[in-house]
Amino acid sequence: MKQGLAHRRRIALSVTVPVLALTVFAQGCFSRDGFADAGDAHPSSVQEPAHFGFGRPATATEIASWDIDVMPDGTGLPPGSGTAVEGAAVYAAQCAVCHGSTGTEGPFNPLVGREPRDDFPFGRTVQYPMTVGNYWPYATTLYDYINRAMPWETPGSLNPDDVYGLVAYILYENDIVAKDLMLDANTLPNIVMPARDRFVPDDRRGGSEIR
């Protein structure tokens, strides 16, 4: 299985592989559609071209208009800034109706809460609500999500200053940043969330072991 994956992967990165070698791989090692387990009953002798030429080049403007994601290292964060004080006003107007006046009341996802501060018991007990403060591993995720999907009634409508302010306010309410910290593209990626080191890779592998 792993061997097959490696072969298919190498084909896909064919810009680095000589055409002759590509042909040998294609004929000898795998089904051209990449599905080794349930392919065609009678494979055609016609080889797929290296490129079909379908689709059209995406323009830089098109990419920029959709490429809104923000990564943990800050890639994707736009210019702008905000503080918890500024964010509090936006929160009251846009967010409190769903998340409660202090971020703990709901009715929807509670945002604020650090308890229990010295433990991460969520696999053992439902005693503690899971919040940004006690569960979210990356602060940049907060910017990304608010910007793309909130507020519920007008998703994607907030400007960068408002989003930075909201992130600052939610982090402040969770006792993670100071009230006067100016959040922007430089300061946000530096924030280390309390639960950051609690997350581990999936270690399930199939086979006889139950994990």
Partner: protein
């Protein structure tokens, strides 16, 4: 209570006229017929007592179900944010498209196929926009796979109640024949760079749903699907196109797919960190727990069905594994003390529902029915106690423990050993 009627199930459960009439009434209130009309031919008249003595109904441009057999999804949430497939009312491995479970995080968007585009960019040689027509022009494949929400089975893990149906326990799961283009074909087309190891999949719903996916999955069996069971995708399944990651938790198969961005690291989106991660008893949480472990559930006999008499009954159910083919399903009628191999119904496909059947002579008295699936990696579906020991009693997602049904003296069937 599942709002379903199914003639075959009613026959199996036999003689309980109060139950049948309640079901028929429910179907009448939601179906094409008014509640005042008896279930029947559906041509606007009363059901004939002898259908050989009157002309039947006309041909129709779009078919419909028999009025007396109206399986229904069960919605949940207010407003409804998901619906469950009526597993106890279905046979075979294919889920009718209009009964495929749904789960969405900001409703079902309406997308115009003429203006739809899929953008692939980031660490690629040629950032490209594909129209729907472009996607359909590539060599097309069809594959039959299950899709399962990673939260499926939660009602069989914690808060277990006896009055739960297969639909309520495991209805966030369905199987379809998916038609589309292999993602590997598209990635070759745009020239994915050698250092790209992850890609972001982004939907065009109001959640702008995002998940990070390892590039290796694209060159294994991922596809961009635009067809389902011979027709275009249903809106709630991602029309006009979705990502389909066979065997992986359903949330990662991003619907209404609009953008794939290649990168050399994961993006750590809200869904994959704060939601679809699995907190464990040892004070950690698993990230990117994509694969669905092997599972099975008996769908008959199961609550609310009853066995009206002792004698021969066929225990029926489905098994599936996100890691490959099911190699065996064992059935116990004595609460797990002894196990026997059931019949596996062909076809047995990888990452797909597999039907199992076991003929059982019920001699009366209490019986506890269980099934456990074994997949081609050698994985054996664990007991509830074992899974709780390993994961923790309050863990989230991937609830693949053995499900139990208790057949009581009077033939009634209830879910679980607890409650």
């Amino acid at each position: 209570m599942s709002k379903t009627t199914d003639a075959s199930m009613d026959r199996q459960t036999g003689g309980d006229s109060s139950k049948v009439s309640r079901r028929a009434l429910l179907a009448g209130t939601v179906g094409a017929l008014g509640a005042s009309v008896l279930p029947g031919a559906g041509n606007g008249t009363q059901t004939p007592t002898d259908p050989t003595k009157v002309q039947g109904g006309p041909a129709r441009t779009v078919g419909r179900r028999a009025p007396s057999a109206q399986p229904q999804r069960l919605t949940y949430g207010n407003p409804p944010r998901g619906s469950l497939t009526p597993l106890q009312d279905l046979n075979g491995i294919i889920t009718p498209s209009d009964l495929h479970f749904e789960r969405h995080h900001a409703g079902v968007p309406e997308i115009q196929p003429e203006t739809y585009s899929l953008l692939i960019h980031g660490m690629v040689e040629r950032p490209t926009m594909f129209s729907l027509a472009d996607l359909k022009r590539f060599p097309a494949i069809s594959r039959t796979y299950f899709v399962e929400c990673s939260g499926n089975g939660g009602g069989g893990y914690a808060g277990i109640r006896p009055d739960r149906t297969p639909q309520q326990i495991d209805g966030l799961m369905s199987t379809s024949e998916w038609i589309g283009v292999p993602l590997s074909t598209l990635f070759r087309e745009v020239g994915v760079k050698p250092d790209a190891t992850w890609f972001l999949a982004e939907g065009s719903d109001a959640a702008v749903m995002t998940r990070s996916i390892p590039v290796t999955k694209a060159f294994d069996d991922a596809m961009i699907a635009y067809g389902q069971n011979g027709e275009p995708l249903r809106p709630e399944q991602g029309y006009p196109a979705r990502l389909l990651l066979p065997g992986w938790e359903g949330n990662a198969s991003v619907k209404w797919i609009r953008r794939l961005e290649l990168s050399d690291r994961p993006f750590m989106t809200r869904e994959e960190t704060s939601k679809y991660s699995d907190p464990l008893a040892n004070g950690t949480a698993r990230l990117f727990s994509f694969e669905m472990d092997a599972k099975s559930i008996i769908t008959f006999p199961a609550y609310p069905a009853t066995l009206p008499e002792t004698g021969w009954w066929e225990i029926r159910g489905i098994a599936w594994s996100g890691r490959g083919k099911i190699t065996a399903v064992e059935v116990s009628t004595d609460g797990g003390r002894t196990w026997v191999r059931s019949n596996l119904q062909e076809p047995v496909l990888s990452k797909c529902h597999t039907r199992f059947r076991h003929l059982w002579n019920w001699r009366g008295g209490e019986a506890v029915l269980m099934s456990r699936a074994i997949d081609e990696t050698g994985y054996v579906q664990p007991t509830l106690d074992r899974l709780r020991d390993v994961r923790g009693a309050a863990t989230h997602y991937h609830y693949n423990n053995i499900r139990a049904w208790r057949v009581r003296d009077d033939g009634s069937v209830v879910f679980g050993l607890e409650g």
